[in-house]
């Protein structure tokens, strides 16, 4: 059995004391190197779970361990450092900083994490070369694209640049929050396959969240958040 990269136990979360519980998970585990699909319809506590896993917020009760580190035991600055070092993140859309070039966007994580900077330098001849390598792997290797303003890229191209950025410096965990929902159907699968290839190559664990169940068969394993989140069931029953 591979080591656990994520180990959630008896998790409770509410936004404010006295507010209704939005997330209540007894146990949730992910092994290192896994490609996990989390089915999360809106209102299932999806964004809250991702906030907790990426260390933006902490649990009210219970524990969220990522790479054997209990996130609730870290201060907010330490959690930001932890995220910078170990987690790549892809949003649903508008992933790119508009005033940076494609390559600068990809190199961005190395500005906030010396660890990922060191990783990237170990892999290639310089940060920019590594960024270009990743873009090339994600079918974004037109020299011309790197110079273009990111706002002129198509949505699919933007998502691939975002993926390259999330993978820059080989973080252990990649969290993708509905990264394909703005892509058309045939592009979705090719995007996911590129993501798989890169994650497997780098040994990165992928957590892919979507409400689109048709993507489910592509993954190693799938979890329905609505099923493991007791708070959602309570809310539905009420």
């Amino acid at each position: 059995m591979r080591p656990l990269i994520i180990d959630v136990k008896d998790l409770e979360f509410r936004w404010q004391p006295g507010a209704p519980t939005v997330l209540s998970i007894d146990a949730f585990q992910v092994s290192a190197g896994e490609c996990l699909f989390i089915k999360g319809p809106s209102g299932s506590g999806k964004s809250t779970l991702l906030s907790l896993l990426s260390g933006v917020t902490t649990a009210v009760a219970g524990s969220v361990r990522v790479m054997d580190q209990a996130l609730e035991g870290l201060g907010s600055v330490q959690r930001d450092h932890f995220r910078a070092d170990h987690i790549g993140y892809i949003f649903q859309m508008f992933n790119l900083i508009p005033y940076l070039s494609v390559v600068e966007n990809v190199m961005l994580p190395c500005q906030f994490s010396t660890r990922r900077r060191a990783n990237a330098l170990r892999r290639g001849d310089g940060l920019e070369a590594e960024a270009r390598r990743l873009l090339h792997h994600l079918d974004m290797d037109h020299a011309d694209l790197h110079r273009r303003a990111v706002t002129t890229l198509s949505v699919g191209q933007q998502q691939r640049v975002a993926a390259a950025r999330a993978l820059m410096g080989a973080p252990e965990l990649l969290i993708a929050d509905e990264p394909t929902s703005s892509l058309d159907a045939d592009r979705r699968e090719s995007f996911i396959r590129l993501l798989f290839d890169e994650c497997r190559g780098a040994g990165t664990t992928l957590i892919f969240v979507s409400h689109d169940a048709s993507l489910e068969p592509l993954f190693d394993r799938s979890i329905d958040l609505a099923e493991i989140n007791r708070a959602a069931r309570v809310a539905e029953a009420a």
């Binding site: 930001d80 993140y89 949003f91 508009p98 940076l100 500005q111 906030f112």
Partner: protein, 419 residues
């Protein structure tokens, strides 16, 4: 450092609004430092309306009053003082030179000043600058007159033109010395001081035009022609004031006391520099108002920056979330906006000073010829550096507001953007 390169790139991306903000700060800085420079120079120039003269002596009165009539030709002397007293002062061992001044007559609204050629030699203004005769020469003949630049310009006089002096400050026909007309022999270069508005004649000429006058009116039945007057003893009986130069400035207070304690006649001796700054304090309220206005313009400029930064924050919440997702702390977000405010303010101050020097270079000769105010284009003074530092400091302080707001937003938003 990385965060400042981000701030810079972000500003370049929004260069149009950034440039407008920089421009508004730059203009306000130009105004503020410019007003301050003008104020300092105007004050210095005013304090030097009369320089090189150590004491002004007149009949007993207050320093400002004596200054007003002897230097600015405003108002009249309460009393003249005797030629004998003048001779006594001139004979004091510590006195290097004296220039007598006799006032009381006018020409078409401009005051007539009777003096000696020493006036042109010893009168100094604006940091030791000497009077320069632009056209013609100093008076040689009894009925020669040397005009100030403004007199010549306003009345359109040229060398050789005849002028008639009127008795007193008003110009009514029955009180004219029209039997003894003067001839314009010289015109002075512009000085920006009351000298420009003065008609200079010799002290003897003042005496000559008054030989057949008594108590402000011609003596009935007595008429002495201009030529007859030449043959008479034209030593004045009294003068209005005297400019006194000392051999050493250390003796100033000693001589001042000696004049004030002069037993034969009640006299006053004043230090022109001190009296000038007293007078400036009286009229300096306007310059303070100007400074206050320019301070407010700077405040408006900085508020413009505040508005621009705050307005941009909402549309940049996505950007903040992206930065957070790649590992930026809320502190980084704070530093990013702070960096932008800092760059805007610093560029504004830099361009503002640049613009000021450009204006000074272009405007200096114009201001000098039009107003006689010589503005020095030197390096920034310590005071001006302080002003700039205050503006930049205020800019950073104002920058804290949007930075803190961005910090709070990014803390609350985390990786999601709830708009």
């Amino acid at each position: 450092m990385a965060i400042f390169s981000l701030a810079w790139k972000s500003l370049i991306n929004r260069r149009f609004t950034a440039l407008l903000t920089v421009l508004s700060i730059a203009l306000s800085v130009t105004l503020l430092v410019g007003v301050e420079r003008l104020r300092t120079e105007a004050r210095a120039s005013f304090a030097n309306t009369l320089s090189g003269t150590d004491l002004i002596v007149g009949a007993r009165s207050g320093p400002v009053q004596l200054l007003l009539y002897s230097v600015f030709r405003i108002g009249d002397a309460t009393n003249n003082f005797s030629w004998q007293s003048y001779r006594d002062i001139a004979a004091m061992p510590k006195v290097a030179w004296t220039v007598p001044i006799s006032l009381g007559d006018s020409h078409r609204g401009f005051r007539v000043l009777g003096t000696t050629p020493g006036y042109f030699e010893h009168y100094r203004y604006a940091r030791d600058r000497q009077l320069v005769i632009a056209e013609g020469q100093p008076f040689a003949d009894l009925y020669d007159a040397v005009l100030g630049a403004e007199v010549a310009e306003k009345l359109g006089y040229r060398i050789g033109d005849p002028i008639v002096v009127a008795h007193g400050a008003s110009d009514v026909s029955f009180a004219r010395h029209d039997d003894k007309p003067f001839k314009v022999i010289g015109i002075l270069a512009r000085t920006g001081t009351p000298v420009d508005r003065t008609v200079h004649v010799s002290l003897e000429a003042i005496e000559a035009i008054h030989v057949d006058w008594q108590s402000g009116a011609p003596i009935r039945g007595l008429s002495i022609s201009a030529e007859q007057a030449r043959a008479m003893d034209l030593t004045p009986k009294a003068i209005t004031a005297a400019l006194v130069g000392l051999k050493s400035k250390i003796a100033t207070f000693h001589v001042q006391r000696a004049v004030n304690d002069y037993a034969e006649e009640p006299l006053s001796a004043i230090l022109p520099g001190v009296a000038l700054s007293q007078l400036w304090d009286l009229i300096g309220i306007a310059e303070n108002a100007l400074l206050i206005v320019s301070v407010f313009v700077v405040v408006v400029g900085l508020i413009g920056m505040l508005t621009a930064l705050l307005m941009s924050l909402n549309e940049r919440r996505r950007e903040m979330a992206i930065l957070r997702s790649v590992g930026a702390r809320p502190g980084h977000v704070f530093a990013l906006i702070m960096g932008e405010a800092g760059v805007l303010t610093l560029l504004g101050a830099l361009f503002g000073v640049g613009l000021l020097y450009l204006l000074l270079l272009v405007g200096q000769p114009i201001v000098e010829s039009r107003f006689g105010l010589f503005i020095e284009i030197g390096v920034l003074s310590a005071h001006e550096w302080k002003l700039l530092a205050t503006v930049v400091g205020a800019g950073f302080l104002v920058g804290v507001i949007p930075s803190y707001r961005a910090y709070r937003l990014s803390l609350a938003d985390g990786l999601s953007v709830r708009v």
